[in-house]
């Protein structure tokens, strides 16, 4: 189960998930975003990654403050940054903390 401080991010139902994300400014692992969801990679979001992975991801476009869109959740997790698409293993996506944006209840 992924967490951000004491806040749980795993939810029992889909509506609870959307309600939780819409009402609270969460930072959750990139791997937990659904398909089509957009999010911002916040400052220090990549700190959990080893340095060589952090530098490579940043050079590939996945740096601090960038906006990502999840094209495909799972393994590989495919994200789009500007016009770049990156494929990431779930283990790496688990360690990238993002803040979902433009969320509305279904």
């Amino acid at each position: 189960m992924g967490t951000n401080g004491d806040l749980p991010v795993d939810c029992e139902t889909e509506s609870q998930y959307y309600w939780t994300m819409a009402s609270t400014p969460l930072r959750i692992p990139l791997s937990q975003l659904p398909r089509g969801q957009r999010a911002t990679v916040e400052c220090s979001a990549l700190d959990a990654l080893p340095r060589e992975h952090r530098c490579l991801l940043a050079a590939m476009g996945l740096g601090e403050s960038c906006e990502v869109r999840v094209c495909r959740p799972g393994t590989p997790c495919i994200v789009q940054i500007d016009r770049t698409r990156l494929g990431l293993p779930k283990g790496i996506a688990d360690l990238i903390m993002v803040t979902p944006i433009e969320l509305t209840a279904p």
Binding site: H53, C55, L56, R72, P89
Partner: protein
């Protein structure tokens, strides 16, 4: 004076397409000593007569990364490799991905070389409503910026003129320009790129789509754990089957040309050793190599099309899950895939794999992947196994590749669970846009690979062909009593029954030929080693062919053709190379190749380590002889065992 220009850029910016557009056939693959990553050097001339040597460096994301490609680029820019520091740099950016590409440009500009920036794929960008203001971009970046389309050639002439001007003036980026000093991807670098982009582009960046796009759907299918693997298998099968069908015509043409050349030499040269050497040794040896070049060209042409289309990156992820189960990292996909061309660049490319255990595992299993040197052997043996059945031959050809891959993965799993146990490193890849592949670029890649194959293999093969001809032609054996009797009978009935007389002479010739084969040096060598290969169904001739192929496996076909007296039947009739081998016989009159023997040889060649250069490179990469020697013993044992099973099953 020729100006040396380093060509730099992110991956997937169309850098190599631009290089091919500029240099075309005037390029060659290079590999500096101490470097593990290949790059190309090409020559081009501007409309005003300026001459350039373009160094097409590998695509990189940053000059600051601890990766072999980044280090090669830095070494080149700082003059540590080649003929010193280049006269200038040409940075290629993708117009559709400028936010990231501009950050790379900034880090490259800080190196202080006279530079020109080419913003590529402007035609695609314009279709998306993005217009680049060259003048504004040049002012913002302090160097000349030219919008180009490498595919259509738009802006390419202006680019060369700008390069010549910058390199001759030796003026780096304008000193008043302030470039970000932080690494690409940092907050400051991203902010600078966003501001620069906003000022140089006529439209703001395009918004990311919220809906599921066609792109998303294609990715979902190609990367799907089941559909992705099925699509991959279908595409690879079609690729190899089409090689068979499409290559048949040029192969026949090559066959005919060398047949004509042999006949011409036969009529021009006097009978004797020189004629035999020229026709059977030189022409036969060269023909046996060149005849398979069409297949190699087609293979690399189609692989280049697949890569250019954007599919291969998805295929890497599709097979990544599978490879993880065998303990191989995702980064091993490309080295193993390139080992299909040749194990040497594949093994050298394993330096991209950061984990030493995973790298060593990949090095040890890479020679199992079917390289282009095996293609002639596969073509010969599957052609013999499935004569006149191109579909079955195509499937068998594909099965060879699958068997090699299975052996590689199986061995990797064993190694990663035993002597090379340890955790795996993650695979992070950019997935390029899907696009219509460039036929011109694919053709140039295929041609380059064919030339590399001919250059690296041609001289060795020719030398071995001549040696093999000598070994099989000497010492001359005397005609047997049986053949002398047949010739006497033929003379007696020549006037009354000429047809039967000719038949008897043909039988006598065949007997003399077999006596020569078994009495020659090659035959004697084969006789000594033949008992070891008898369980695989090999006779003396095939044993000789297998032994010589341990130097380089593509020599097998040459040896078989020379030993079988390729090109002519026993009665002097001109035959194609494959047909002559099909009709070749053993000393006991049985066909040289029967189904079980062809099958066992095919399996043997899929799995055996028969390449001296590969062993040398493995030693260089691992720093010890124990790994290549262990690899040789292991692969030979696996090949022998599997070939024996194949022979028994097919018998």
């Amino acid at each position: 004076m020729t100006l040396r220009i380093a060509l730099l850029g992110n991956p997937n910016t169309g850098k190599s397409t631009l290089f091919n557009r500029l240099c075309g056939l005037r390029s060659k693959t290079a590999n500096h000593p101490g470097s593990t990553v290949e790059h190309q050097v090409g020559r081009c001339t501007s409309a005003t007569g300026d001459e350039f040597d373009l160094i097409d460096l590998p695509g990189i994301y940053s000059l600051m990364l601890e990766m072999p490609e980044s280090k090669l680029c830095v070494d080149c820019l700082e003059g540590r490799i080649g003929d010193g520091r280049p006269d200038g740099a040409l940075i290629v950016l993708d117009a559709n991905n400028l936010l990231r590409n501009l950050q790379f440009a900034a880090s490259a500009l800080r190196r202080g070389l006279p530079t020109v920036i080419a913003i590529n794929m402007v035609d695609l960008a314009q279709r998306r409503g993005l217009i680049i203001d060259e003048e504004a971009a040049s002012k913002l970046l302090g160097v000349t910026v030219i919008a180009v389309s490498a595919r259509t050639g738009v802006g390419v002439n202006r680019l060369l003129d700008a390069l010549a001007a910058a390199a001759k003036a030796q003026s780096p980026a304008h000193p008043a320009i302030s470039l970000p000093t932080s690494e690409p991807g940092s907050v400051a670098s991203c902010a600078w790129a966003a501001e620069t982009f906003a000022q140089m582009a006529a439209h703001p960046p395009l918004k990311i789509d919220d809906e599921m796009t066609v792109h998303d759907r294609l990715d979902a299918a190609f990367i799907h754990p089941v559909i992705g693997i099925v699509v991959f298998a279908i595409i690879m099968s079609l690729l190899f089957a089409s090689i068979y069908w499409l290559a048949a015509f040029p192969m026949d043409a090559v066959d005919s040309i060398f047949g004509w050349l042999g006949s011409a030499l036969h009529s021009m040269l006097p009978s004797g050793v020189l004629r035999d050497l020229a026709i059977d040794g030189v022409v036969g040896g060269v023909a046996a190599t060149v005849v398979f070049v069409p297949q190699i060209v087609l293979l690399f042409f189609l692989l280049a099309l697949l890569e250019d289309s954007g599919y291969l990156a998805r295929a890497a992820f599709a097979v990544d899950r599978l490879m993880r189960r065998f303990g191989l990292p995702g980064q091993a996909f490309m080295p193993l895939l390139s080992s299909h061309a040749c194990a040497l660049p594949g093994i050298m490319a394993t330096r991209l794999i950061p984990d030493p255990r995973e790298r060593l595992t990949t090095i040890l299993v890479a020679p199992f992947m079917s390289c282009s040197a095996r293609v002639p052997v596969y073509a010969l043996l599957t052609g013999l196994l499935f004569a006149g059945r191109p579909l079955a031959a195509g499937i068998a050809f594909t099965a060879c590749y699958v068997l090699g891959a299975v052996a590689a993965l199986g061995t990797a799993a064993i190694l990663r669970r035993s002597i090379l146990r340890g955790p795996s490193a993650p695979m992070m890849l950019e997935l390029p846009d899907y696009r219509l592949p460039s036929l011109r670029s694919a053709a140039l890649v295929a041609l380059d690979r064919a030339l590399v194959f001919l250059k690296s293999a041609g001289s060795v093969i020719l030398a071995i062909a001549v040696v093999m001809w000598w070994l099989s032609a000497y010492p001359h054996s005397t005609p047997s009593i049986e053949s002398s009797d047949l010739r006497t009978q033929a003379e007696v009935i020549a006037s009354t029954n000429p047809i039967d007389s000719e038949s008897l002479i043909a039988q006598a010739d065949a007997l003399d030929e077999r006596a020569q084969q078994s009495g020659s040096f090659a035959g004697q060598l084969g006789a000594i080693c033949q008992p070891a290969f008898a369980p695989l169904g090999l006779d003396q001739q095939l044993t000789v062919a297998v032994l010589t192929s341990f130097l380089a496996r593509e020599v097998f076909t040459t040896t078989v053709f020379v030993l079988a007296g390729a090109g002519q039947s026993a009665d002097g009739e001109d035959l194609g190379t494959l047909e002559s081998v099909r009709r070749a016989t053993r000393s006991d009159g049985q066909p040289l190749f029967n189904i079980p023997t062809a099958a066992s040889l095919l399996v043997f060649f899929v799995l055996a380590m028969q390449c001296l250069p590969t062993l040398v490179v493995v030693r260089r990469e691992t720093g010890s002889w124990k790994w290549p020697l262990g690899q040789f013993v292991y692969m030979s044992a696996v090949a022998y065992g599997a070939a024996w099973v194949a022979y028994r099953v097919m018998s």
